[in-house]
Symmetry: C2
Subunit: 674 residues, 2 copies
């Protein structure tokens, strides 16, 4: 948690600011004073004992800056206690990962000297955020100066201030020094490292937290997993466009491979999560999300007063409005698809009447337009889905996320792949399928790269260009002073989480796997896309967006399920495609029935094989299972000893250090009788 | 834990004997003395502080009895401490289930007076068994008097004695009074109780433990779940043998129903397990099974010295011997099936040559012979599977059980259903299928009832007839004296666990679901079978077998998976059967292809629907989820308070007791900004 800056608190303590708290410019003075005193107050009095300092900047670029921007920091002591509160796992002296406790701090490997090196800045920021979130109202009836912003005992003050628009944002500060190091090792250096990963995952995790590090780990893993498919796909593309015999082999390989790599990813992510201490970390009790509203009642779990909202009402909203809305959107998407086919038809007719270069080029236009429309529809639908899911008023962030992901996945899947399914199984036109797949894939990749990285970067640049230029002129190569830095970062866009990034990979996986046997080149395109994706995502995290708070995560959550579902659907589509292929039909000239039965049999065997494989491969590597079991065992033992310390002393076997040859003799036990 | 008997310990303490320890009649005196003193010894000295008394009976029926039979009991104090050690959950004063702790004992609901009523006899016996199992060697190099029975520090003494054949058996005593009450309310009384279950599940659990109670709960639930199928099946049987239209409806209903009821069972068993305190009870650390052998090494988890056996060697054994052996058995079973078909053919030919009553009856003979052969093969294979799995040398009982169940399931499934699959899909003879199914089902039910209940009972009776008669003559209606009772029970057969009972239900479920659309009467037969099964199983538990030790269980484990897998296979077979039906073929006269495609589509939709249904229905009822969450939350809170007791006092919100109208005003929060 080294950082170049330090500012004094009001009582003179110098501290390193880590988090920025931005209140509305017109916030009532009384409320500010109250909030600051509550944050600074000792824990016995219900405060969170953090250090605070107002940035005193007149605003940059001639505009009037917001005077109500505060820098938040903490003493090391408080951070260490906080690490225990949030349940951080750290490496113990014996190499295992254990929940950090303050009293036991000297036994942790990275705790040296005063413990400065134990926590990464991201962890400190996470702890400070946790402390701010748990700042609870005592007996204030409302926020001072805001009679409408009601409070009741135990209510999180920060969430109330946010929901009332008094608190504009809370965000962690970038650390220019560390960021420079990170971005150098991440994407500025071509490396063939000896470690298991090309990206500095541990550094990413130290800077951005586990959630983002897992995303980048998955992105890299997924790209490598596509490599065999891509390498096998190239000769197929170069030499045997129409040889379906080999495509069968290719498809079967793809299906087995996609099952294996998804299972192996589970194991790798468990290893990563173990080494980062999130695998066995207990989830903190989930507070209601900030937007949740309802009649004041009692939480049946905590017994605390909080808004409650009847589940039946939520179910009604879901089934009477959300589900019909999604179906309507699907119908709309289907309708647009039919228009696309009309256009396609029309373009073809034009080409047939007058076949020249321009009408030939024009053949691609409908697909490109359709690809753009798909992206636009996805985007619009995304907003609608967010609005609807908000309106459904879920109590927990996790349940909100699940409903949102489900809505978005269903629509995006349909929107992206419906036309391909239609071409493949209704029109049964394999040439058009290949052409559409290629156009859709390439167009959506290009659009994605533009929307995701270049657009925000360009907007960002335009916004800050003048200000930055002027500042650079003034400061030269020197670091920006802290208040200016905070103001600058406060204007950057907010990173909305890994949702869109995973969604993109999910759709790419669909393009590769669903129709892999008609277009083996898809994997090549995805690999190429993902190589640039790593760089552009890394760049946007470092330079386009505000630093996000670290998000502890032990796996990629619902996305694992989504990818696995896609790979099951892929078995069905590929088997069907192979069954439809003219070569297969040529083999079974006399009887379609036999062909179909064969295809169905193969499909069932493949599906059964997939499920057995997923069941047989353990989700957590043996080595880590043993480590976890050891910890569990030790905690049981400690518990037993604590309960009755006078017992079990003399006879408990000590851990023997060496084996004598006598002890090593082979021991064979007879079978017991029943 | 009331019981009529009490015997004095050597030091004069009167105690209720609960468990019998039977050593070999020729056991070395020195070893006996050592074992008794170790068991009686105080815990500080490595003993387990149990009470012991030798039964002094000259043997009954003129035979010389075994003098080395010991009755084991315990003081109430020790049992309560033991309840804490094994992690029993009991109902707390506030109605929730909590881990029992001795210091907190007065706050548990059933703890009245000196706590006599808190523990059931089954629990006391379980605790005593746990204590005996954890009696560990100190620094003895071997069992006194048995230089070959090596010991090392931390090794369980009881397991070593068992594996060396010195300890013949450990079993809990029946409690005549309670048994009489239990069997009356269980199967002697016709009841239409108001409770959710017809059987006294809570009493069964108190007497036999959770594992058995869950089996009987499942048996009853499964029988009730078959009722709708049976009721719908009767009119099909009576009126429309060949109306496949309605069979389609019937099959679809069956498929959906079987998914729903398996999911709902998960929820009911979670409710039962919660009320019995096994749902959130932590599994104790699993010791190696008694038969496990290997080179002495260190357990990587506990660091204790114990035999280790390389996993690679075990894998080699499995893949080089067990798997080929299973395949060989499957081939043998297939071969026998072909012989059956030859016999069938021959019987039919005989009937066609000379059609009269006797040859007509003779038509059923091959099926009956085949059914008997199947049962015999299953039995023989079962022994082979046990031998092989033993030889694979699994370290944990759970892993041993999993491998055994897998072997037995695969073979039994093939052995029982292969002929039906062959008839249905290779011969496509629906009449023969129906006839074979009926014969197989009925014969196997009759055989099962004989093998399971009547045979052991008859053997038991014959063995004890004389002895019992004489005793009854001497004692009249009075209770048997304790030593005689112990001797009598020691000669009873040992109950080998619920494995065979679940297996039988699994196969019955197969007969009902796999081919439900050709033989709707199967469900009726299964319901009838299961009604007698409940009675015969209850009877055999109470009067045929030794009382088993209670087995804590929170679900039916691997059997849930087995039943679910069967219901997935049933979707495939039923769809295929419907596709093969002449009526369906009549609809699609022109094109088989269309028919098959339709069937495949319907099958995929049903399968997808099944998986979605299984995913959507929560495994634990909401009410119990809340209770579990509350406990989790409280333990987190307690932990926080314990860590720093001076903090978080003044401001923590107290649980408000009433809501004023002012507080009840609707609170609406605005959406927070991102």
């Amino acid at each position: 948690m080294q950082s170049g800056w330090s500012v004094p608190d009001s009582d003179g303590t110098a501290f390193t600011p880590m988090v920025v708290l931005e209140l509305a410019p017109d916030t009532n003075e009384e409320a500010i004073k109250w909030l600051l005193s509550r944050i600074r107050d000792r824990e016995q009095n219900g405060g969170v004992e953090l250090l605070l300092e107002q940035t005193l900047t007149g605003g940059h670029d001639g505009q009037k800056g917001n005077p109500n921007v505060f820098l938040v920091g903490s003493t090391l002591e408080r951070l260490l206690h906080g690490a225990e509160d949030v349940g951080l796992f750290k490496e113990f002296n014996d190499g295992s990962m254990r929940a950090f406790t303050y009293t036991n701090k000297d036994n942790f490997k990275d705790f040296q000297g005063d413990g400065d090196s134990l926590l990464s800045v991201a962890e400190c920021q996470y702890i400070i955020k946790h402390k701010l979130d748990t700042l609870r109202a005592k007996d204030e009836a409302n926020v001072p100066g805001y009679p409408k912003a009601k409070l009741y005992p135990g209510k999180s003050i920060i969430r109330r201030l946010q929901s009332k628009g008094i608190l504009l944002q809370v965000f962690p500060l970038h650390d220019k020094e560390e960021l420079k190091r990170l971005s150098f090792s991440w994407y500025k250096k071509v490396k063939f490292s000896s470690s298991s990963s090309f990206q500095p995952l541990n550094d990413i995790r130290r800077y951005f937290g586990e959630g983002l590090a897992l995303y980048f780990g998955f992105l890299e893993y997924f790209t490598f997993a596509m490599l065999p498919m891509a390498l096998i796909g190239i000769p197929y593309y170069l030499w045997d466009w129409e040889d379906y015999d080999k495509y069968v082999l290719f498809a079967v390989f793809n299906l087995v491979w996609s099952t294996v790599f998804l299972e192996v990813w589970k194991r790798s992510s468990a290893s990563l999560a173990y080494s980062w201490g999130t695998l066995s970390r207990k989830k903190a009790f989930e507070e209601p999300r900030a937007g949740f509203h309802g009649v004041l009642g009692f939480n049946p779990v905590t017994g605390r007063k909080e808004p409650v909202y009847p589940n039946s009402k939520r179910q009604l909203k879901i089934y009477l409005l959300s589900v019909p809305f999604v179906l309507l959107c699907l119908y709309l998407s289907f309708y647009i698809m039919m228009i696309y086919f009309d256009m396609e038809h029309w373009a073809l007719a034009l080409y047939e009447v007058e076949p020249n270069f321009w009408t030939g080029l024009f053949l691609f236009v409908p697909s490109i337009i359709y690809a753009v429309v798909i992206e636009v529809l996805n985007l619009l639908y995304r907003y609608a889905a967010e609005f609807l899911t908000d309106w459904e008023n879920h109590r927990l962030e996790s349940s909100y996320q699940n409903h949102l992901v489900l809505k978005v996945l269903v629509f995006n899947f349909f929107n992206c792949f419906a036309s391909l399914f239609y071409i493949a199984f209704v029109m049964q036109d394999m040439v058009l399928l290949r052409q559409s797949l290629a156009t859709l894939l390439i167009t959506s990749q290009i659009l994605n790269q533009i929307m995701e990285a270049f657009l925000p970067y360009w907007l960002q640049r335009r916004r800050n260009k003048k200000a930055h230029k002027r500042l650079v002129k003034v400061m030269g190569d020197r670091e920006l002073p802290l208040p200016e830095q905070a103001q600058l970062e406060s204007d950057m866009s907010t990173y909305l989480g890994t949702f869109d990034d995973y969604l993109e990979q999910f759709l790419l996986f669909g393009y590769v796997s669903l129709f892999s046997c008609v277009y083996p080149l898809a994997a090549v395109l995805v690999v190429l896309n993902n190589i640039t994706e790593v760089y552009s995502d890394a760049f946007k995290m470092c330079h386009v967006f505000k630093r996000p708070f670290a998000e502890p995560a032990s796996n990629i959550g619902v996305w694992q399920l989504a990818f696995e579902t896609m790979s099951v659907i892929a078995v069905v589509t590929n088997c069907a495609l192979i069954g439809l292929s003219p070569q297969m039909k040529a083999y079974f000239l006399e009887s379609d029935t036999q062909l179909i039965l064969l295809v169905v049999c193969v499909e069932h065997i493949l599906l059964a094989f997939k499920f057995i494989l997923a069941f047989v491969i353990p989700d957590v590597p043996k080595q880590i299972q043993i480590k976890l079991a050891r910890l569990e065992f030790e905690s049981l033992e400690v518990l037993k000893k604590k309960m009755r310390p006078h017992l079990r002393k003399s006879w408990r076997p000590r851990r023997a250090q060496t084996l004598t040859s006598e002890e090593e003799e082979e021991e064979r036990h007879r079978q017991p009788r029943y």
